[in-house]
Symmetry: C2
Subunit: 256 residues, 2 copies
């Protein structure tokens, strides 16, 4: 049975085609039309697999743009999909930390991919990828190079939690001669602290998996490990956890 | 007896010289040295009044920069000073709403200038002058012209409370063809709503006085009146309430 999961995030749309133990994926920018980017991601997935739409048993959508999709069979919240996808990627995961472009979430699961409790922030840019983006542009850097730039640096204290105030603080730290590297390390720690505080409210898991776009940032990962006092698992496909979870749920749906 | 109050805010430093029922004032940007700007404001005040420092019985400092001042006789929190100053400017004030460059506060008083309760936000840029500044620059406008630009406009709904997310929303509203005027009105309402929510927790007063730099913005004032269902008093000198309150408290101190 072949199923598809599509995760329409605020920044990128992820689509996964699942066929037994094999899966392939497509990632593209969401742009201004979530519906169109999801459709294009789906078509590209089929093209890569050499399949027609009729070969797909079930399509499950997730992510904030899921409600705009008209070609899916059902929609599931991203919390459920992330929990399922993270467990598939790292078996036994019981705490999922997901930091995306505009939100962050912490999901406590039963170690089998089922949600027990979760906390989410999508109201405040602090502790999300957006915070990193604002800071990167204040520093004249690209967000993708932040982790490499700050490797081995000493984090400077960023006292403002608010993205807007922290941006001014970063500009004044630069003016005071603090190195860009140490500032970036401080920025990474700020994101980690904010999300770790959210995780703290749910209770620490024994197997922590870090997903979402920001999971590719090794600096944030290292500070998360420090703040939580736990090892953090990141897998190459961690950005795809939501779409993968959706494809897994699609398989269950199709079986019913 | 002649006393001086100095209110060192994040954006501007205000100094008031009080002599009986007469008072004069100086306002200057705080810049990077609160201490220096306070000193300069004080010197300018003396120069304007044709007085030497020895003629001043007591100097009271307030505002976030008060702890850095070495030439004052005592320091008092801005909450206390604002309550006192607002009562002096509008007698009988029992609710003070102060929106400054980086914070906002709501102070419930006994109608005699004494604080009963207060709420304050200095952690989040939303609901402060900083929010207006970020939005003004996203719109290519100056913050001082926002009120005039939006006079008579229909406020558009700004759904994001966060300054960072609201800024993106404003950019996309512009792209959708919403007029700048209606967007600005929506921005004013957003600030008013956030601060009114804070006031709601303290209970509505019967005489509301609006102070701080943002009190000069007639758009925010009108939406505050709408949100609170109350008349809002703004006086020309409302930006000076803190410094004036400090000068009044300085007089009481000198008498003791
Ligand atoms: S604290 Fe800053 S980043 Fe967070 S909601 Fe407020 S304005 Fe946005």
């Amino acid at each position: 049975m072949i199923t598809v999961g599509i995760d329409v995030g605020s920044m990128t749309t992820k689509a996964v085609l699942l066929n037994g133990h094999e899966w392939s994926s497509v990632i593209r920018p969401t742009g201004c039309s979530p519906r169109q980017s999801a459709r294009e991601a789906f078509d590209e997935l089929l093209l890569k697999a050499g399949l027609s739409a009729g070969a797909i048993s079930h399509i499950t959508g997730t992510g904030y743009g899921r409600i705009m999709l008209d070609f899916i069979n059902n929609a599931v919240t991203e919390i459920t999909c992330h929990a399922r996808g993270a467990h598939y990627l790292v078996e036994g995961t019981d705490l999922v930390i997901d930091i995306g472009g505009q939100d962050s979430k912490v999901i406590r699961t039963d170690g089998q991919g089922n949600v027990i409790d979760f906390a989410m922030n999508d109201k405040c840019a602090a502790g999300t990828g957006r915070f990193l983006q604002v800071m990167a542009s204040a520093l004249g850097a690209d967000v993708s190079e932040l982790a490499a730039l700050s490797r081995g640096a000493e984090p400077v204290e960023i006292s403002n939690m608010c993205t807007v105030f922290a941006e001014s603080e970063v500009v004044s730290l630069l003016a005071q001669g603090v190195t860009k590297e140490n500032i970036i390390a401080g920025i990474h720690r700020s994101v980690a602290r904010r999300v770790a505080a959210m995780a703290g409210r749910l209770g620490l898991g024994s197997l922590v998996t870090f997903t979402g776009g920001v999971a590719r940032n090794a600096g944030v990962k290292a500070f998360l490990a420090e703040e939580l006092g736990a090892e953090i698992h990141v897998v190459a496909a961690s950005q795809l956890a939501g779409a993968l979870g959706a494809a897994l749920l699609a398989r269950e749906m199709a079986k019913d």
